[in-house]
Amino acid sequence: MMETFSQIALQAEGAAPALEPTAAAALAVGLAAFGAGYAERGIGAAAMGAIAEDESLFVNGLILTVLPETLVILALVVVFLV
């Protein structure tokens, strides 16, 4: 459906858009991954600190570290929408 919309838009303007929908979606996923990476930086550092002091925190640390990864998974939905 998006494609038909954009095709109509294309016909109306008579020129190619600066960014194809798929390219925009790819960018969205990339930015989301960037955000997740930044969030994991702090959490990962703190988790490593906690694990260094008490090894039993390994599982908790791991879980908390990868939680921001959900951002990327949600952003991935965009890819299937376009």
């Binding site: 550092a45 600190g49 906690a50």
Partner: protein, 349 residues
């Protein structure tokens, strides 16, 4: 938060620090320790955090000395770790405070040379927690004269002030000018060049409080001892409580000094201590209250700014208190004080 800039890593350091903070002795354990003799305290420590140090030193020392040296060595180990972990701006902020131990070591070495104490004895009294490398400290221990010490310290914050104070030392033959120079160098670098922004604002205030309390303590001691010394000679710049001139006039009149403190921003935290100071003759109580107030203040900072230098500083203070407390218990038991008397000596929140 701006402390994350410049490649510093507050997340890692605060996570480790919070864990170590939780491992400090609790009220419950202090209550147990108060009832023990020196040998029992050493055994209790052997089963705790201090195991490595007690085992390493157990062959050479015994009794209260063993406890004391083990405490110092453990303190040095933990604080060295802090400097190992921290990077960038955070390192700078922590090192500012830990240079306290550099100042302590310099003073110890100078005193050792002055009194011709054997190298080993001076060495056991050093606390290797500051920024000085082990090699520099060894060289300082080997130094034969105070000039040599000054030369070795070239490039550190202490060289210049020591050189300036040296003539005065030669004239008077007492160590006071040199020790003052070292202390002053430490306190002046505390605040100097600290760029104040939202996150370091609180740290700045904390350092100001530290300087203010030091000034108050000096002023009170001078006032109480009745010595004919100009308090402004001992005045340390950078606090927000008083200027040098104010301090001189207030030190002459303890009642006014107390009133001045009551009206200051620290008034609330110190009100109880100030009441006691007005009634009691002893300064010891008041000094302990100052320490407790500083500790409480730093704790609050750690909660307001979880990802800054504040939790680290609050840990450093708490650890210092723990070491002081255990030492007070051990020395108190050795001197035969009662449990109540020892309990009064402790700073527990």
């Amino acid at each position: 938060m701006s402390t994350t800039a410049g490649g510093s890593n507050p997340e890692y350091v605060t996570a480790r620090v919070r864990s170590r903070r939780a491992a400090l002795f609790s009220d419950e354990e202090y209550r147990k320790l108060i009832r023990m003799g020196p040998a029992e305290i050493a055994r209790f420590m052997e089963e705790s955090e201090y195991e490595t140090e007690i085992n390493a030193l157990g062959a050479r020392h015994s009794g209260v000395d063993l406890i004391e040296y083990a405490l110092n060595r453990n303190l040095a180990k933990h604080f060295d770790d802090l400097l190992d972990w921290a990077e960038g701006r955070l390192y700078d902020l922590i090192a500012r405070y830990l240079r306290k131990f550099d100042a302590w070591n310099v003073k110890t070495v100078i005193r050792g040379i002055y009194s011709d104490t054997a190298r080993e004895e001076v060495e056991t009294d050093l606390i290797r927690a500051g920024e000085f490398s082990g090699r520099l400290l060894d060289q300082l221990l080997d130094a034969g004269s105070i000039e040599d010490v000054t030369e070795l310290l070239d490039g550190t914050i202490f060289a210049e002030p020591l050189r300036d104070a040296y003539d005065e030392y030669e004239e008077s033959g007492v160590l006071v000018p040199l020790e003052n120079a070292v202390d002053r160098a430490f306190y002046e670098q505390l605040i100097e060049g600290l760029d104040v922004n939202e996150a370091t604002q609180l740290y700045h205030e904390f350092l100001q409080a530290e300087i203010d309390f030091r000034n108050v303590r000096n002023a009170l001691r001078l006032a109480r001892s009745g010595a004919d010394i100009d308090p402004s000679e001992y005045y340390i710049e950078g606090g927000r409580l008083f200027s040098a001139a104010e301090l001189s006039s207030l030190a002459a009149n303890p009642d006014e000094l107390v009133q001045h403190l009551r009206d200051s921003p620290y008034g609330d935290d110190l009100s109880q201590a100030l009441d006691e100071l007005e009634t009691a003759e002893s300064l010891i109580e008041f000094e302990r209250a100052l320490e407790a107030a500083l500790l409480e203040y730093s704790d609050r900072l750690g909660i307001v700014h979880p990802l800054s230098v504040a939790p680290v500083i609050s840990y450093i203070l708490a650890k210092e208190r723990e070491v002081d407390n255990i030492r007070a218990i051990a020395r108190g038991r050795e001197a035969g004080l009662s449990e109540e008397e020892i309990e009064e000596e402790l700073v527990i929140l």
